[in-house]
Amino acid sequence: MTTPRMPHTGHSAPLVAAGPPLTPERLARFSRQLLMPGFGEIAQRRLANARVLVVGAGGLGSASVPYLAAAGVGTIGVIDSDVVEPSNLHRQVAHGMRDIGRSKVDSIADTVAAIDPNVRFHRHDLRLDSHNARDLLDGYDLVMDGSDNFPTRYLTNDAAALAHKPLVWGAILRYSGQASVSWADHGPTYRDLFPSPPGPDEILNCADGGVLPTVCAVIGAIMCGEAIKIITGIGDLLIGRVTTYDALSGRYRELEYGRDPDAAPITELIDYELFCSGSAPHTAHDDAADRADGADDTIDVQTLSRHLANRSPIQLVDVRELFEAKIVCLPDAEVIPLGALVGSLDRIRTDVPVVVYCHHGTRSRMALDLLQSRGFSNVRHLDGGVDAYATLVDPALTRY
């Protein structure tokens, strides 16, 4: 099925005015892109004058920030509060072995300086929130979102809309990626595509679901390309369209979307953690009821450690993949990966309490839902997973 091409909009207005003329050295450096039809020296001066804020120095940040710097974007800010961990390195190629334990913004600042020391780089070693977003966006022309959680994505979208600034966003998981441009003044936004966030444990993240590193590269490069197009005013922007990439088929497919007619206008920044928590604002009475409900099917790591120390009769079920159990595992746990659980229900005991656990608590929540839907009532899942157990109970356990 062919999708008719949208009428070529020609050249959209450039976002950024051209900066001062470039020196011969700079012209030589950028000669291979200055040669392109429709680009030229003025476009290069627009890039030099542009200020781009990137949310997240992870897989997408690694694939976009170095290209922004190399392409000649004059000012780059990066927001991230994480430090580099060994499990980042398979895909976050702006960081290396020597950066383990360093802040990601420090690490990526060095990467940028190695590419072009003329880039003005701003380190924002913090987490974007409703209080700091407005001031942070104020210093930039364009925002790119490669963050790793839904609250930040909705926050970035709303903050960009309120600031009348274009947002280029991308997201990745496993073999799939998506990218689009959200620019409230010119078309639909992220909220028009995803009006309501999934619950906190309903969607896997990269830590629990995995991701192919080259998907980061593809989507991060698409994001950087859109940023360059917006700044310089060339080409057709990904407004009202989302490009999806499937690494297994090698195919890109496009999906068009218009404004959501039921969407409430974006008028202010809200509490995005609450918005994405799966519950509307509610009363203290509801909170108490939630806690009581939660206590029924969730167990914390301290309680579990007491049960294990007392040798209480329980069945521990590890729903991570087999290789993860080789990295670290709780004693006497039975390993049944989440994907195999539905075919292994005969291994779940009904004569003793069952505790399912995973890395961080997302997959075990899914396993709990599955088991409860199949009639298992004496099951709980471990809040925070084996990572919380290693952090809070047994520091000798390997974290990954």
């Binding site: 909009t9 207005a13 998981l173 999934p198 990269c206």
Partner: protein, 116 residues
Amino acid sequence: MSSSDAAVVEKAAAEKTAAEKAAVGKAVVEKTAVEMNVHVRYFAAAADAAGSEDEMILMNAGSTLGELKAELTRRYGPDMEQVVRTGSFLVDKVVRRDLDWPVSSQVDVLPPFAGG
């Protein structure tokens, strides 16, 4: 993008949508008054659950989004049920949350994810 450019885009899009609506209406009327083919496109986890990127699903004319979601869950089980619960369903390129909304000839199913 200048406002005149934006106006051109919006006008072209409006014309295109009107043409598509007319084409869709014609196709349905010509085919049958009681059944319609819905072209469902699956993305990411939805394609994983369905085992394909798209398919035609024959539904009664006037079927609702809720009925399509139930049909998908019936066909593809728990993985698709998860997609149905969390994914966006776009009917004629507009996201619809109302389960009573009538499906048209094209529905796109796009799960969100937040990895970066």
